[in-house]
C-alpha cells in the first residue's frame, strides 16, 4: 500500500492547516491526489493518511475523495484501490453527507485503528458479504454461498460487485474446477 499524507496538501496548496476546506482548493488538490493514485502499482492501494487533518469540509471532499472514488468504481484507474486512514469523525460525517447529497452510488474504505469499515452507499446484502470477507480475511464465492445459503451465482455476483466498486481486491487462480476468485481487503 502506498501512502499519501494529506498534510502535504497544506504545502502544495499554500494553506495553513489543520483543515482542508473549500471547493476551489479541492479542485486544485484533485490532480495531485489523482497522480498519487496513478503512481500506485496495479494491484495495490493508495492510503490517504488523514493524520493531523482536523476536518475536510463537504466541498473539498466532493472535489477530491468522492471524485477519486467515482473514478475507481468506473474503472478509470485500473486495478487500484483507495483507503482513507483515520479521517476525523467530522470528516467522516462530511464524506457521508457529500455522498448522500450527490446521490452517488459509491462507498469508501475507512481504516480506523486497524479496523476497516465502509461508509457511503452499500446495499445491505453487499455490506454483509463485505463484513464476512473482513472477518475471514479472504473468501470465495462458494464460501459466501455456503455461509448465507445463497445460490453460487448470487454469491459470485455480490463479491464481483464489491470488487468492481473497489471495496474488495481479488486473486484469481485456475483450479481443476476452473477459474476461481478469492476476495480480500486491498493490500
Amino acid at each position: 500500500m502506498r501512502q499519501f499524507e494529506m498534510t502535504r496538501l497544506f504545502i502544495l496548496l499554500n494553506i495553513v492547516g489543520p483543515d482542508l476546506l473549500l471547493r476551489n482548493y479541492g479542485r486544485r488538490a484533485f490532480p495531485m491526489l489523482e497522480q498519487a493514485l496513478l503512481e500506485v502499482p496495479p494491484g495495490q492501494a493508495l492510503l490517504l493518511d488523514f493524520a493531523s487533518i482536523s476536518v475536510m469540509d463537504t466541498s473539498f471532499a466532493d472535489e477530491t475523495v468522492l471524485e477519486l472514488a467515482l473514478g475507481l468504481a468506473q474503472n478509470r484507474y485500473g486495478e487500484r484501490w483507495m483507503v482513507l486512514e483515520q479521517p476525523s469523525p467530522a470528516t467522516i460525517d462530511n464524506l457521508e453527507g457529500t455522498i448522500a447529497r450527490r446521490k452517488a452510488k459509491v462507498a469508501l474504505l475507512i481504516n480506523e485503528s486497524h479496523h476497516m469499515r465502509l461508509i457511503g452507499h452499500v446495499e445491505a446484502n453487499l455490506q454483509e458479504a463485505w463484513q464476512l470477507v473482513c472477518q475471514r480475511g479472504e473468501l470465495t464465492a462458494r464460501e459466501l454461498a455456503d455461509h448465507f445459503e445463497l445460490e453460487i451465482n448470487t454469491a459470485s455476483t455480490r463479491l464481483h460487485k464489491l470488487y468492481q466498486a473497489r471495496l474488495l481486491a481479488r486473486h484469481e487462480e485456475i483450479t481443476p474446477a476452473g477459474r476461481q476468485h478469492t476476495y480480500m481487503l486491498p493490500a
Partner: protein
C-alpha cells in the same frame, strides 16, 4: 441636507424574524441624504442583529452615498459593538459620534472572550483565515475532548463563508459568539453579504425555477447549485444537517424570502421587505460537557 433619523426598535436580540423589523425601516421615502440610526431602544444585540445592523448601514450607504451614523447607543451596546470591531469595518460605511469611556471597554482575552469579532470575507484566503481564528478561540470555548464539536463548527463556518466567495460577488462578513446554558453550549454564527442573492445566482445557471424567493432558497437547501455541472450544492445542505442536529437551527434570508430550518421541519416566509444579498443565522448546540 440635514440628517434623517430612523429609530431602531429593540429587535436585534430576538429570533431572526424579529430582526426583520429593522429591514422594514429601510425602504421609506426618507431614505436619502445623511441617515442616523437611533439605537436608543436597543438593549441587547445577538450576532444576527449585529450583522443586520451592519448590512443595513452598508445598504443605506449604497442608497445615499453617505456613511450612516449610529446614535443613542447605550453604554453596554456601544461596548459590545466596539468589542466585535463593528466600527472598524469601514468608517465610510458606519460611524458613531457617541462618546465612550475606555473604562467601559470589554476585555479581549482569547481565554475569556465569548465572541469572534466581525470578520470580512472576500476571498478563499479569508475563509481559511477565519476558520483558523475560529479554531483557536473554539479551543477555549470547548474542553479538549470536544474536537468533534469544534470540527463541526469549522465546517459550518467554511461552508457558509464559501458561498460569499463563490456566489455573492460581494464582500461579506461573519461573526461567531458563544452562549453558555445549563446543559449545553450554544454557538451562534451570523453571515451576511449584499451580493446578488440566491435567486439570481440560481437563475443565472438554471433559469426561472420558482415564482417565490423561498422557492429558490429551498432549492439551494436541497442541493441545487449555482454552479453548472453535477458538482456543487453541498454547502447549505451540509450546514442544515449539522446545524439542526441537537436542537439547533439554520435561518436563511435572501432578498424577499426566508427559510427557517430546524429538526422538526422548515418554515418559509415570502413577501418580506426587500433587502439585498443573503443573511444567514446558524445556531449550533453542543450537548457534551464543556
Amino acid at each position: 441636507m440635514s440628517e434623517s433619523s430612523i429609530i431602531v426598535s429593540d429587535s436585534l436580540c430576538g429570533m431572526p424574524d424579529t430582526v426583520e423589523m429593522l429591514f422594514t425601516l429601510l425602504g421609506g421615502p426618507s431614505i436619502r441624504g445623511s441617515i442616523a440610526l437611533d439605537l436608543a431602544p436597543v438593549t441587547w444585540i445577538h450576532p444576527y442583529g449585529a450583522i443586520s445592523i451592519l448590512g443595513s448601514c452598508r445598504y443605506l450607504r449604497q442608497l445615499t452615498r453617505k456613511p450612516v451614523r449610529l446614535t443613542g447607543l447605550q453604554t453596554h451596546i456601544h461596548a459590545y459593538l466596539r468589542r466585535i470591531d463593528f466600527f472598524k469595518y469601514d468608517p465610510e460605511t458606519v460611524y458613531t459620534t457617541d462618546l465612550f469611556h475606555s473604562s467601559c471597554e470589554l476585555g479581549r482575552s482569547s481565554s475569556s472572550s465569548n465572541v469572534l469579532e466581525l470578520f470580512p470575507i472576500r476571498t478563499s484566503e479569508d475563509v481559511y483565515a477565519v476558520a483558523a481564528r475560529a479554531r483557536r478561540i473554539l479551543t477555549y470555548w470547548f474542553d479538549k475532548n470536544s474536537s468533534y464539536n469544534i470540527d463541526k463548527i469549522v465546517t459550518l463556518l467554511a461552508e457558509a463563508c464559501s458561498n460569499i466567495v463563490d456566489h455573492s460577488g460581494d464582500t461579506g462578513v461573519v461573526i461567531v459568539q458563544k452562549y453558555d446554558h445549563k446543559h449545553y453550549v450554544e454557538i451562534k454564527l451570523a453571515i451576511s453579504d449584499l451580493g446578488r442573492g440566491i435567486r439570481q445566482s440560481l437563475i443565472a445557471v438554471h433559469g426561472e425555477l420558482s415564482n417565490t424567493f423561498t422557492g429558490y432558497i429551498e432549492q439551494a437547501l436541497a442541493g441545487l447549485s449555482a454552479r453548472s455541472g453535477q458538482k456543487g450544492g453541498q454547502g447549505l445542505g451540509a450546514i442544515q444537517r449539522i446545524a439542526t442536529e441537537n436542537g439547533g437551527s439554520l435561518y436563511i434570508r435572501s432578498e424577499m424570502g426566508s427559510v427557517l430550518a430546524q429538526a422538526t421541519g422548515t418554515v418559509a416566509q415570502d413577501n418580506l421587505c426587500f433587502f439585498p444579498g443573503t443573511q444567514i443565522a446558524i445556531t449550533f448546540r453542543s450537548l457534551s460537557a464543556f
